[in-house]
Structure formats: C-alpha cells, structure tokens
C-alpha cells in the first residue's frame, strides 16, 4: 500500500478542494520541486541547455494549448504563430523599454499575444470543431508572414533575425549570449512553475468548469447561463498568453535569436501532439507530452548507434513522423487522456500493491 487515498479523509470542503487533496501526491510534488531546484548542481551543461530548458518552455506552450483544446474543446493549429507573436512582442518590448525588468517584458508580450489570440478566436463564436482549425491556420500563416515582411517588428535589423538583448535578474544574466545555462534554466523554471500553478487554479475554478461545460455540451452550457462568447474567448486569450510567454522564452533563453522558422506550422503540430499524447484535459499530461515529444527524437537519433546500426538521418526523420502519427491515432482511440491517464492507472496499481485486484 505505497499509494493510498483511502484513509485520507477530508473533514472540510476546503481541504477536499485543496490543490492536491491526496497526501502522497503532495509529497511527490515536493520531491519534484526539490529535484528541479537541485538539477543545476548535478546535470551537465548540455543537459540543462539543450534538454531541460526546451522541455520546460514547451510545457508552458503545451499547457496553454491544453487549456484551450483539452479543457475548452477548441482546436488550434496556430500555437506556433502565437509563440512567434510572443517572441516578437517581447523583443519589441525589451528594446523599446530597456529599463523594464525582463520578466515584465515577457509578461507584457504574453498579454499582447492574448489580444492577438482573441482576434483569431473570434470566429469560434459562431463555429465549432474543425472549422476553427482553418481560422487558426490563418493565424499561423498570416502572423508569420507579418513578422517576416514588416521590418518594424525586428527594429529594421538588416538580417531580419535580431538577437534578443541581454538582461539580468538579481544581477545574473538570464538572456543573451552571456547568460549561463543554469541561470536561464532557473529563469525558465520559475515561469513554468508559476504558470502551472495558475493553470491548476483556473481549471478548478468557475472558469475551468465553464470551459469543460462548453467542451462537453455547449448548448446545455449556454442554457445554464454560461456565456459561450466570453468563455471561449477567455480560453483563447489565456491559451495565447501561455504560448506567447513560451515563445518569448524560446527566443530569449533557448535559441537566442528572434526568427520565424522556429515557429512554423511544424511547431504548431508539435505542440498539438504534446497535448494529445500527454493527455487532453490534464495539466500534468502537458508535462509528460512535452518531455516525450522532445526526448523521443533525441532517443530515436541515438538508439541505432547504441545498437551498432547505421541508419541515415532522413530515414530516422521519416520514422519519427510515422511513429508520432501512429501514436496520435493510438492514443485517440485507446486513451484520449494520454500518458497522464496511464500514469494514474499506474498509481492505482501501486495503491493496491502488493495485493492484486
């Protein structure tokens, strides 16, 4: 009986509604936080810079899309473009107001992206389901075109791909070429942790229930008094906010350039896959999805070498496409709640362990 929820009785509604009602889960969370904080001391610079940072950033983007798609049931194929919007807005903010603390610039970029998200989410008022895919594809193609064809967005930089300005937090560089990976990691981590907490709060509040109501049965939701317009647009706004912040961090703390190719349509699909494989409607799932989708290609690229096989890179890429595609179909058929659900089932097994059934 390693994991148990029986016996952990709640005596008040407040306790029952706590963020993490089960004690063992809370313990697990503390361990995870401790590990995350210890990571810079034990992990290699490569691991921090090339794996931990991108994974944490993609967690933010995937959480954003999950709020929209997994909770509110509105699809978006434009998450990549919203990340781009965040990156360019942060660049504009940080260069126009250099005295602003970097976290503020990034939050402002997120807010600007939220506005853009609302604009492209407007059609959701009258349409449903896959129609939205087209509206958000419009965002994908139009926004990327806009950022590449209007030089104002890059402050008329000749090359068109400017470098984010260096900035410090508490005296340590967190962006720019001089920023050490551990500092960038902690900077990103604080955003990820904060936004995860916000996401959990939202989904257990009225707005979260309204999103799910719209997702599950929009007509009934409307007749109960949930306003579809307001509810869907908040989902678009908040989701875009998350993507915007993620995009800003991606440019500022990971690739160290502001360029459109990092945010093309493949990025949008990548985020979508994180949400589906990680688990629709599960914030923890966004973590699983981001980790899996980021690490799996790395694994796939190095696995043949371990086995002493020599498989050319393009074949690996084709295989990756096939495997991701097949996994999407598999999870949608077998387990739309994705890896998060498998994790939960695993925990339930553990609860009964060592007694079968």
């Amino acid at each position: 009986m390693l994991y148990r929820e029986a016996g952990d009785f709640k005596t008040t509604y407040a306790k029952d509604q706590a963020l993490i009602p089960i004690r063992q889960d809370r313990v697990m969370l503390y361990i995870a936080i401790a590990l995350a904080l210890l990571l810079p001391f034990v992990a290699s610079d490569y691991f921090l810079g090339s794996i931990a940072i991108p994974v944490l950033i993609m967690v933010i983007a995937a959480t954003g899309l999950n709020l929209l798609l997994g909770y509110c049931g509105q699809i978006s194929l434009g998450s990549g473009a919203f990340m781009a919007a965040g990156a360019y807005m942060a660049y504009k903010c940080a260069t126009a107001f250099p005295w602003l603390p970097m976290p503020v610039s990034i939050i402002l970029a997120g807010l600007a992206t939220a506005m853009i998200g609302i604009a492209f989410g407007l059609p959701a008022v009258r349409i449903k389901g896959f129609y939205l895919a087209v509206a958000t594809l419009a965002a994908q193609f139009f926004l990327l075109w806009l950022f590449t064809h209007v030089p104002w967005f890059v402050n008329y930089t000749m090359s068109g791909v400017p470098t984010p300005p260096p900035a410090t937090v508490l005296g340590v560089y967190v962006t720019g070429a001089d920023a050490p990976n551990w500092a960038k990691y902690l900077f990103v981590l604080s955003f990820t942790a904060f936004l995860t907490w916000i996401a959990y709060n939202l989904v257990r509040s009225r707005i979260g229930r309204s999103w799910m109501a719209i997702r599950d049965m929009d007509i009934a939701a409307e007749l109960i008094g949930i306003r579809p317009l307001w509810t869907k647009l908040t989902a678009f706004a908040i989701s875009s906010f998350y993507c915007g912040v993620a995009g800003a961090l991606w440019s500022f703390c990971f690739i160290n350039t502001v360029e459109p190719t990092a945010f093309d349509i493949n990025r949008s699909f990548q985020i979508l896959f994180m949400v589906i494989i990680g688990g629709l409607g599960s914030i923890l799932g966004s973590y699983f999805g981001a980790i899996f989708i980021t690490l799996f290609p790395i694994f796939l690229n190095s696995a043949p070498a371990w086995l002493g096989l020599d498989i050319p890179g393009d074949i690996i890429t084709h295989l990756e496409f096939m495997i991701f595609g097949a996994m999407i179909v598999f999870f949608l058929i077998v387990e739309p709640n994705g890896l998060a659900r498998l994790w939960q089932l695993g925990k339930e097994k553990l609860r009964l362990w060592p007694f079968p059934h």
Partner: protein
C-alpha cells in the same frame, strides 16, 4: 492618402490598361484553383459520407503522387503505375477503415479530425520512407507548349489546359457515378441521413471504404497534375492545405461548392498577389486564402452555398 490611392486606384488602373495581362493572371490563378478544387473534392466526398473532416487529404495527394512517380522511376509503364497506385490507395482506404475509423465510431468530430492529423503524419513518413524525401520530377508526356488565344494576345500553358480538361472530366465522371450507379445512390443516401441509410441496410463500413478509395483516386489525379507542375515533393501537402479555406468558402458538403470555391480562391490569390502584393511586401499568396476564409467564418460561416443548421436539444 497615397496608400489609399495605391490600394484602390492604381491596381484597377493597371487592370484596365492591360486587360490581356489580367486575363493571363486570372487564367494562371484558375489553374492552381483547379488543384485546390480537386483536393477540396476529396474532402467533400469523405465529409459527406462519414462526417469526417479528413485533414490527411493533402498528404494523400502527396502519397499517391509519390507512389506513382516512384513506380514510374523504377521503370514501370505509366498506365501500370497508375493502376497499381489506384490499388494501393484502395488498400490504404481499407486499412484506414479497419484500423482507425471503425474504432472511432460515435466519437465527436474533433477527435476524428485529430486522428486524421495522425494519419497524415503517418502517411507522410511512410511515403517518404519508401520513396525517399527528394523532389522527383514527373513527366507523363503532357505537352508543355504554350498556345495563344484571343488573336495571340493571351498566352496559356498547354499543360494547364490539359489539367483543366482532366479535372472537368473527373468531376463529370464522379457526378454521373453518383447519379447512376447503385454505389452512388447509396453514398447519397448516407450523406442525406445516416440513420435512414442504416435502416435500409447499407453497410456503412463498405461505404466508408469506397469513399476513401474514391478520395484516394481523386488525390492521385490531383497529385499527378501537381507533380508535373512542381515536381513531387513534400511541399505539395502544405499547398494542399489551401483546400481548407476553399471549403469554408464553398461549404463542406457541396461538390459544386468545392469546385467554385477552389476557382475563386485560386484566381483571387493570384490577382491579389500580382496587383496588391508589392504594396504589402509580397508573398501575400501565403495567407490570402486563409484570411478570406477567416472573414467568411466571422460573417458567413455556412459558406457561399451551405445552409444554416439549427441545433436541437
């Protein structure tokens, strides 16, 4: 002020000054429009018969073209290659029905839609794994001369004429098939009312296979034409995505809608690019179709030809 005149006046003046050039632009646009129409046609077929919005239609175009050109490059006669690819697309339809659709009956549309995104990725990887990811030129002997019409003032590619004629032929065959064959009648019954179709004993699974196979055939035709123009390459599946805005315009259930929508979008984006593109820094073709679709979604979501549906509870 100057911008306003650049936007409203100058392009119109240009058009009036050189109507032959305008005609050429429109004709070139219509020809890409034919391609969008063909992809859109595949979408509509599947959507009508199974309510599935098949995101993989664009990749099916690429997949079919890859198989066709791959076989031809290995020395197979074009006609044999064509037949073999039709067989492959039919087998693919059966596999999709068996592995995916059958297991997702009664799921909501969004889940079905996302599963077709999975299919798209799988197919793309699969096709390129077998045939490689390089651009493959495709030459099936379509004449590539130009002809002049209207007293030699307007110039047209013969290949474009050929493509237009083939598309028209294909649509005619499909329309006749729908009307006069038993399968076609069954398809129409399903499209009108799933419940009714079931109750007169049409096996739905077979219908799905048939329509996915027909959509595969349409994809092959589209793929061959596109391939002769651009070479067979990955970007085909991205270009094919433009069929989505076409469907917003034409309506998801209307075959004539898909055709007309495709032509409008094709001609519209060419004209916009040629006459207004430079005003915005060029390459507005990339998003023109999508923004038009976005406006439609906002103001007339049922498209040009669709009708309003009122939800029930």
């Amino acid at each position: 002020m100057e911008f306003l005149s650049d936007f409203f006046v100058a392009p119109i003046m240009e058009m009036v000054d050189a109507p032959e050039f305008l005609a050429e632009v429109i004709i070139a646009g219509l020809m890409s429009g034919v391609m969008y129409s063909l992809v859109g046609l595949g979408f509509v077929l599947i959507f009508k018969a199974s309510g599935i919005f098949n995101f993989a239609q664009g990749v099916m175009v690429l997949f079919a073209a890859l198989n066709f050109v791959g076989l031809m490059d290995s020395g197979v006669h074009p006609i044999i290659a064509f037949i073999a690819t039709v067989v492959i697309m039919t087998v693919l339809a059966m596999a999709i029905e068996r592995v995916v659709l059958r297991r997702l009956v009664n799921q909501n549309q969004l889940i079905l839609f996302m599963s077709t995104i999975g299919i798209a990725f799988f197919l793309e990887g699969f096709g390129e794994l077998i045939w490689g990811g390089n651009v493959r030129p495709l030459d099936i002997g379509i004449p590539d001369d130009v002809v002049f019409i209207a007293n030699g003032t307007i110039l047209i590619q013969e290949a474009d004429l050929f493509a237009g004629a083939t598309a028209a032929l294909l649509v005619t065959i499909l329309a006749l098939g729908f009307r006069y064959t038993a399968v076609g009648r069954a398809l129409r019954a399903v499209a009108d009312d799933h419940q009714a179709a079931l109750s007169i004993g049409i096996p739905l699974n077979n219908i799905w296979v048939i329509v996915w196979a027909v959509a595969g055939f349409v994809a092959l035709v589209a793929g061959i034409m596109w391939g002769t123009k651009l070479g067979v390459q990955f970007s085909i599946s991205i270009v094919a995505l433009k069929a989505l805005p076409v469907l917003i315009l034409g309506g998801f259930t209307s075959i004539p809608g898909a055709i007309i929508g495709g032509l409008i979008i094709g001609a519209g984006e060419k004209v916009a690019e040629v006459y207004w593109g430079s005003l915005f820094g060029g390459a507005i073709e990339e998003w023109f179709a999508y923004i038009v679709a976005l406006l439609f979604l906002l103001f007339r979501p049922q498209g040009l030809f669709g009708e309003k549906i009122i939800d029930r509870v």
